[in-house]
Point group: C3
Chain length 260, copies 3
């Protein structure tokens, strides 16, 4: 009987130029041979835990629930911040306890562990590269099949980012810009299923649109429109151009949706 | 008996920062476990179908013919544009029917299918991420071994980009800049095998060179030269510097080769 | 009996946009099916052999010694420069003989071979892409298990970069900036084990700091400090900001460490 080797994803702010990503992968592959590694992203802005939390939560549902996701965006590396191991119905997640798993905590079936396995730490002169020296060997032990309960005690309240939830009131949905993607599409946190059947107007700062579109190419050049995006939330876009630049939108900006 | 798992490549304009590439990979690995995935590139300029077609055609011959190549540069995502599955002697190719397979159509043994498999589509709130919701499950079905003919009817004329072919006349070869690479080397579409045995002069816009070189380091600093490039076409380069910037060359520019 | 397929890493200056990296991988996977490929980096600055040598030497120790590392930063491609195959206790290394293996030569157990295997070269119109046409098939032959001694004669003195070694004198350590990472951390070549127990001051150009920190977050905003970095050398950093930019530091700059 053959089994497919475990899937392992990696999300960091290490960038593509340095040796950091490769060192984590080499360590995992040395300790858990045969692991299939998939990059989530390594171009998270340095130290941007919120961006990492978004990318992780957006990618994870596309992977089998048996997948282990390691996310290391860790400005507090070497400090007293803990390491959290979280399982939910979507997958398993290993990360610094700094809010990176904020969206995973909220999913069905979430249980968290405060990882306490100093025996797994690799010897290192410094304390600046826990991705290689701490997280990778813990990930490898999980990938080799060590059961969750051996990694430490239950963690009742992992750190959460102070991200406000979107709100509904009669005729008005309020939320925020959750992400701006490579194309300049503005992804909000407002669930499209909250929308009524009537006309919709989306406003961000001094700009707004009431043009509904099912896809980008339905928009005329230069015409902004709102769309149900790939995460099921309201998205605002231009066709073939960068709406975030045109409207000067930044992540976290307030979004107002007026709907009938 | 063991068989090597199928090879699968991925070419997109999704960039490295977002979750899009990972979501496609996770979907494929969930539906076709054990697949070996190789990135062709994800840094195609947003919506640049011609650049994607070039990169795909340049990379594919280096892979075994059993490889499945998925290319998603798809500004028309969600519109009525079709999905094309093409096989030729070089490999199998899955892409939106927007010209991305222009160079593959021209290869020996090409047959095309208009993919019609709504049963494979993943449920999704939106219509903006066919890479994940449509292309990935089709690719996975192919990787699991479903035969070509089950994916839809023959497609006699997939969309081709209006890229003019290079031309030969006595003493003059005419073509265009097909690609500018990371180093600023200018790759033309003029086959080196068209060159005669005599002297050669390559002209692009107001610039030109009659310096032949077998490799970059044969050129003096600041000296432009022409070279037989890695695709067997005429290439113009500087040694250790960016010729495209120095000569202000853009893709698509006319190239004239005067030769004896 | 199953064995884990060999590990293979790839380090280049090919960038992420072109087809070059994929062509090397496709060639290797076609000739040595089942190989597990890990990217070290492809964002080495064009032709920057020293940067490549650093990244390679920093990443390799995290991989099993059975790993084959291919590094192609090769401004002399097509010239008479040789190809070197080196084995040491850390791994196996294949590269142009241009100094890229400078740090590997110095490791325990290093033996070098001048690769002479024209029989393995792939037919190619040009001489500009040895990564695909020469290095990839040699790598594949190694990955298939061909023994080292079949690849060519011993190479007594592979090319070394003229990088001065750090120096110790009473109360003063002298070295240089070996690397500036994505975060703007300044990595020096001065071993932290050379430091005494007393106070330490690190100076680069007109700037300096005597603030010792065990990790980045121990520093106040805007406060520079020195740290024992992930390679066991002295590193200078800001917390959450780019020290190299703030101090205008470039690789190769002189570093002075005054210590008690």
């Amino acid at each position: 009987m053959t089994t497919t080797p475990p899937l392992f994803t990696l999300l960091t702010d290490f960038g593509a130029r340095d040796y950091y990503v490769a060192a984590v992968k080499g360590t995992v592959l040395g300790l858990a041979p045969g692991t299939t590694i998939v990059d989530l992203s390594h171009d998270i802005a340095p130290g941007d835990v919120e961006e990492a939390a978004f990318v992780l939560s957006a990618a994870a549902p596309s992977f089998p629930p048996s997948t282990l996701h390691l996310a290391v965006v860790d400005p507090g590396v070497g400090s007293a911040r803990g390491i959290v191991l979280l399982e939910n119905d979507t997958g398993s997640f290993l990360a610094p306890d700094n809010g990176l798993l904020s969206h995973e905590i909220a999913r069905t079936g979430a249980i968290s562990i405060a990882v306490d396995r100093p025996d797994l730490a690799l010897p290192s002169a410094g304390a600046t590269f826990h991705g290689r020296d701490r997280f990778a060997p813990i990930a490898a032990a999980l990938l080799r099949g060590e059961p969750l309960e051996r990694f430490g005690p239950s963690l009742p309240a992992p750190v959460r980012l102070p991200i406000p939830a979107p709100r509904q009131s009669p005729g008005l949905l309020s939320g925020r810009v959750a992400h701006i993607d490579r194309f300049g599409n503005v992804v909000t946190d407002i669930p499209a299923e909250w929308l009524g059947a009537g006309p919709v107007r989306v406003e961000i700062g001094a700009h707004g649109t009431d043009r509904a579109a099912t896809h980008y190419a339905a928009l005329a050049p230069g015409e902004a429109g709102w769309i149900v995006g790939s995460l099921g939330t309201v998205e605002v876009a231009l066709c073939g151009a960068d709406l975030a630049a045109a409207w000067s939108v930044r992540r976290g900006a307030e979004v107002r949706v007026l709907h009938g």
